[in-house]
Every structure is written in structure tokens, then in C-alpha cells.
Subunit: 322 residues, 2 copies
Amino acid sequence: MLVLSRHAGEYCRLIEAACLPDLDVVSATDPSGLPASASTCDIVFGEPSLVAKALPVLPAVRWVQATWAGVEPLLDPALRRRAGQDYILTNARGVFGALMSEYVFGYMLAHERRILEKYDAQKERRWDSRPPGTLRGKRLGLLGVGTIGAALARTAKHFGMAVRGYTRASESCDAVDEYFHSDDRAGGHGRRSLNAFAADLDYLVSVVPDTAATRALVDEQLLTALPPRAVFINPGRGSVVDEAALARALSSGRLAAAVLDVLQTEPLPADHVLWRTPNVTITSHTAALSGPADIAPLFVTNYQRFVAGGPLIYCVDVELGY
Amino acid sequence: MLVLSRHAGEYCRLIEAACLPDLDVVSATDPSGLPASASTCDIVFGEPSLVAKALPVLPAVRWVQATWAGVEPLLDPALRRRAGQDYILTNARGVFGALMSEYVFGYMLAHERRILEKYDAQKERRWDSRPPGTLRGKRLGLLGVGTIGAALARTAKHFGMAVRGYTRASESCDAVDEYFHSDDRAGGHGRRSLNAFAADLDYLVSVVPDTAATRALVDEQLLTALPPRAVFINPGRGSVVDEAALARALSSGRLAAAVLDVLQTEPLPADHVLWRTPNVTITSHTAALSGPADIAPLFVTNYQRFVAGGPLIYCVDVELGY
């Protein structure tokens, strides 16, 4: 097995501590420094961008476990091998839901409770008794209901919110009150379904992966379908947003606020329009920072399934891209 | 029945809408404007401070339902009548838990996620990728575990926190992992028990009522027992805090931060030391603003119990003060 990660040392320690059977581990922090024995490895555990570069010289690979949720670099068709010799790709899931919930509900509660306005009032020693809002009874729309969306839906129910989910076809989360679909075969009607989903939302949160189907999904038309009181929160993928359309919607007051953890270009360039757009909060890609201690247990679980010949969890469908 | 409240009109509309049997309602917004028939009322529903002033001219009263949680004005022994002719006092509970949860977790998440620091960084167009903290695995200590404390404990468990409760003797909430008591008979040892409760807390939240036993409970000694990383949040009663001791603890770095909704004097005077103490957030008594629509249903429920001869809910023990 090859561990290929900037945190290779920490991953190796965590994997050794798990005392897994029949496992020889070699490691590298960079694809240019692979050990000679890497060419015989049948398992690779590492960061998608590093693994993508190393794959051409890893002919024996049968399984790649990514340390991240986003596996875009590994979706390049040139990296696939012909059927029968292809490898299984699994990604990191399930560990981000709790952190994402803290992020999304931290900012939703900050909005309802006017935490920033009260902070500014306090600087002037002003007793600010304006009443706050409440999440109770408000409506959350989730673009994407995977493991993260499901965690957000459960927290929303805890706070008494109504929850809508927009998915391709799945309806697997009980905490979602109402589903809308992009896939016609699932009863969706493409754009009409998305506009119906957006109508009357108080909060829109995007947790879809970066795929051809989600690129610029949050565009002028979707933003126009939201009510002006709505707040857009994006802890998912920057590619999902038409940033120019978002800046226009916020500047013209057609949208109340946006909280953006991810952007098309990171770090956001100093002259970018979103730095000077009103009611934007930039959180600099810190929504759900996971470390080896969060991710290594996923590998351990999947390795035990791998040696037992059982199906792996969190397999990526490379056609769908997630 | 007499409705005695600044919101008497709205309360009367809500009570009439409930079509309660055998009920004649008279109302006033002030004790100086009582209708003549008030002297025959056996039920009073109103604000504690107004009801306390009117009680001497309401000899027929058998039950007082307060519109607030805090009933200090009605605890004056001079307002009690001799046994057998005394009235039942019930207060408002159960409606504040959800709002208090949004308040407390809004500020706890803001602290973990560094929302204010990131807000300041953004003003300088600074990409601030410092990692945030998480509530998961942190320890919350609740001073008081009534209906509000129980709601906070449930939300804390949702976010994966450990929960300690400090009560006189009760252990009725399952979401509390570990109890500490002030009452020796319940296994508590007074001050020793309180110090053990405070050791290693990440967050201390006070939701005890204002009674002789809770006055200045959060004093130099308790603040010293907390670790320096701890955050104190007070959405309960201002009388619980020794404000000079709190200001000293914050100024000297022995406490990380305080979020204060209630204070000894409100509005907080402009020259008060807490306006210029570091890491203090003042939220100006807005944590759980309830209105007639929240409170009237409590009266309706209790009235139905009253006419059925059943026990009322949310009875106040006037000796204990809650």
C-alpha cells in the first residue's frame, strides 16, 4: 500500500496503530519522491491531486481511497483503465457532516441573532434591544442531500425548521420534508423543479459536488427565484456559483446575504468584486477542515472490508462524479 | 378572570379565540385602572410586577398565572395570605427553551468559528484561513437544569458535547451526563460541589432563577475554578453574577470570554466597567423575547386543568422561589 499525502507521516502512524493484517505500507509526501516498491502497490491512500499525478506509474492499483470529499483530479477519463482492470475509487464522507453543521448553523444563527450588528452596536456602547429572529419555522433548502446534506437536515429539524432537498433522484433522508429533482425520470422537470425548490426559501445551502451538472447551478435565474429575504450559504464547491450574478443580486438587494467558504479562485484575489459586495461573508475555506485523525478511520474501515472481500463504502461513481 | 398586562388587548383576543368554557374576562393594562368587577375575579393572568401591585385589592384570587418566567415581585411574603386561603402561583415555562438554545448555541458557535475575528479580517480583505474550533467533544456546564437547561442539554448532545448540570437536587434530564448538587441531602457538598462542577468546563451557562441561593453564585471563587479557556454565558438572571469579579477575571485573562444578556442594571449604564472589559459581548436582554402568542397557550392549557380540578403545570414553590 502507498500513502501519498502531505501528512503521510501522521497517516502512517495512525494506520500502524490500527494493526491491520497483511499490510505493507510505503509512503511519500510528493509524487516525485515515490519509493521503487510503489509500482507493486495495489492500494493507494492519499490526496486526489497527488494520486492523479502518480497513477500513471502505479500499474498494480486496484483501490484508491481519497483523503478528501472532492475527487475532481481523479475523474479525468485519461486516468481510467480499460474495464476489468480499472480500480475502485472511494472518497472521504461522513466525517464532514458534524463540522458542516456547526459552520452552517453558526452562520444561520449569527444572521437570525444579528450577532454582527450587535457587535457593531456594542463598540458604540449602545444598548441594542432590537429583537432577533429565530430559525424556528423558517425554511432551509439543501442543494444536494448526501451525508453532509443529511446532517444539515437533521440539525435543521432540531431547530424546528422546514427542510427542502434538491437532488438528482434520491430521497434517502427522512429529515427532508419535501424533495425536488433534476432528473426527469424521478419526477423532476429540470429548471422548473429548481425554481419551485427555491421559491420561499429563507436559507439556500449548497453541498453538491463539482460535476458538469452542478457547474454554475446558482446562477441569475436561481437567485431570482429566491425571495429577497433569503441567505445563500456555500460550504460546498466554488464552481457551483456564478459569482458575477451573485454579486449583482446582493448589490441590488434581491438577496439578503451570502456566506461563502469556497470560491472560483482561492485565496480570493484582493481586487475581486465579492470583497466589496454588501452582505457577503467570506470564510476562507475553513468550513470543515478535517485532519488525518478524522480520515484515517475511514481507510481502516474500508481496508477491513477490502481484505474480507466485502463491498467498500463511499465508492465514487466516476461517471456521475461523486 | 382579570388580564393585567401591557399586552392585555392581544391576550384577550387570544383567550377569546380559544373559546374556553365558563370564563368572564375583564382586563387592564395598569393596576391603577382596574375595573370594579376585578375584586370578584378568582383568576389573574398577567405580568408579575403589575399583579403584585394589584393583589391587595383582589381578595377572591385563587390562581395567578404569570406571563413571565421570573416571578420575583410575587415572592414577597407580605403578598401571601394565610394557609388555606392562599392562591396558586404558576409561571411561564417551556416556551423559552428553543429560543434560549438558538441564543446560547449561536454565541457558542460564533466563538468556536471565530465569527467576529473573521468579520474583522474581512474588513481588511484578508483571506483568513486560521482553523476554527468545534463544539464536538467540548464540555458544557449548566447552572440550573429546568425546562431551559434541559433544552440546552439536548442541543449540546446534538452537537456532540459533554454536559454537566448543577442543581439543588434534581436529576430529571437524561441529556445531562453528570450532575452536581448544592443540597447536601442530594449528595452535594455546597462549595466543593460547585468547584468540582466548574473544573474543566469549556462553557458555563447560567439559567438559574433569581433566589437567595443563586445571588452572586458566579463569584470570584467560581470564576477561578473555571479553566482560562472557558466562556461564561448568562441568558438567565443578572443577580447571579458578581460583575466586578467577572470584569477582573476577563481583564486578567483568567476567563476567555463572557456573553451577557442580563445585568444587574439594565440598560447597562454607559460608564459601566463591562462596556470596556475585553472579550465581553452584551446582548441587551434579547435572548428569549416571548410575546402573547407564545404565552397565551400556557394559560389556555392551565385553565382547562383548573376547571377540570386537575393539578396545574409550572407551579411556583414560593419558598424556593421557582
